[in-house]
Symmetry: C2
Subunit: 297 residues, 2 copies
């Protein structure tokens, strides 16, 4: 069982046995904007995993392959509909991979697969109603409702491009004030340097701990923006736990404490837990192996 997470900068892959236990894992760089060559990339990654397994004497039977990608994904057709960073549009990824690999193939969305992994193996175990928000270069979300990962239209989870400040900073998408342009790790780092300071979002988070007023203002602005988007989702779905992931979650309590405080205020009740996602940057690849297992079931 192979699980492969094709990210904007890295390809993370794991080989697991039929019970889902990880036998080996590997990380490689993603070629710049692979576009449709992502098919070759996945085929080569699978071959590489099997070769490593053989070299290490690991039982490496390939029962199925799960592949997860960012952007717009239609799980029902296995189509990678759009990714700006990776350079594809309407790519029938599942079909192309089935033509090349002699095993069942599942194609999923990186964040939704990550939430599936958090539900089965990580911080949402036993909690059927959860919201997963990774805060990294960009921002997306995945929603678990009644133990099922929600996947409506191919735009599902694109909370990073909800406008939170109509007069806010320009987003990569060309509009102003998207959540991602205000509260992602990348945009916080940019805003911090825009104040003439050195470093990135991590530097900023340490300055917040030290009580630097510029840092505190910037940070709380980001927390407010996150809550403006997260609170309505939690209210509508009856979310019991908010899992924060991505690079920004590594700042820990300096992020999670004010996030919970403002979320509770905005919701008007305290029946929501805010916690760090448990599986880190392996969540997507682990979720991909779960999709592979489902594909053989």
């Amino acid at each position: 069982m192979a699980g492969i997470d094709v990210g904007g900068t890295r390809v993370k892959s794991v080989l697991a046995d039929s019970q889902g236990s990880v036998l080996l894992s590997h990380t490689a760089s993603t070629p710049e904007r692979p576009g449709e060559a992502v098919v070759d990339l996945v085929v080569a990654t699978v071959a590489d995993l099997l070769e490593r397994a053989s070299a290490e004497g690991v039982e490496g039977r390939l029962g199925a392959v799960g592949v997860v990608v960012p952007g717009l994904v239609d799980e029902s057709t296995g189509s990678a509909a759009w990714s700006a960073n990776l350079g594809w549009r309407d790519l029938p990824l599942r079909q192309r991979l089935r033509d090349r690999l002699d095993v069942p193939v599942a194609v999923g969305h990186d964040v939704r697969a990550g939430l599936l992994a958090e539900f089965h193996l990580g911080a949402a175990q036993g909690v059927p109603d959860a919201l997963f928000v990774p805060l990294g270069t960009g921002i997306a979300s995945a929603l678990l409702a009644g133990g099922r990962v929600v996947a409506g239209s191919e735009w599902t989870g694109e909370i990073g491009h909800v406008v939170v400040e109509p007069d806010g900073p320009v987003c990569g998408c060309g509009r102003h004030g998207c959540l991602e342009a205000v509260a992602s790790a990348a945009s916080l780092g940019r805003a911090w340097r825009g104040l003439g300071r050195d470093g990135d979002a991590e530097t900023l988070s340490r300055a917040v701990v030290d009580g630097d007023p510029d840092a505190v203002r910037l940070w709380h602005g980001a927390v407010d923006a996150l809550v403006r988007v997260i609170a309505p989702v939690c209210a509508a779905a009856g979310t019991r736990v908010l899992l924060v992931g991505g690079g920004l979650a590594e700042s820990g309590a300096v992020l999670l404490d004010p996030l919970r405080e403002r979320l509770v205020h905005s919701l008007g009740h305290d029946r929501v837990t805010v916690t760090r996602a448990a599986l880190g940057d392996r969540a997507g690849a682990l979720g991909a192996t779960l999709l592979a297992m489902e594909a053989t079931a």
Copy 2:
């Protein structure tokens, strides 16, 4: 099969055959704050329905009863957890009704049941990913994801109490700037009269059509507030259709057109339809009959 919707001012009930076709329906006033006496009220409503059926020569076999109520509801236990208007707290409604009625009983939430009815019989037919937002005295929501009505914690759907304007008008819940305090039919009527004008939200909507500047400003403020809460939910869940219900939806295009325009802007894509809910104030009772049918399945 009886479906009963116990609202803040009216009790709507329908008797349906085993295929769900409505045989007769009735509306009565809700006694003020019935509290636990809602059990007697439901039992009397069922008896009254059967009596009417008999008098009108309708085949009125009572296979099961579905009851829906507002506020906080836990469908898994059939408990009516809290309603400020109706005056109960932690009422084991399903159990109490089972003790009194000799048929299966289902207890649900009025808005979630209304969405179930819209999905099976109304404006969301064939659309498995929908958001239903009735705008009346208060505001709540129900979310359909993958053809299933989402019910997480008992606070599910309480979008009316998400804070949208921290310095906004006082809400019935005591806090400032809840969505319900800015954009419900009741609060819009109050704000309109607060400007020294006569009438209610319906009068206001006509003044918007006439281009009255005060009316337009108030109306668009409400639309903006609605979009601030609705857009994140649609983004997270991949919602394909937004169903607007309640009294305010009767204003039609003057509400739905700007709502869609601003929603599309906030989401950054136009893959969402905004439409009026189809079943009006019968949605809850019709949904209750669907819950009753499920209870016998």
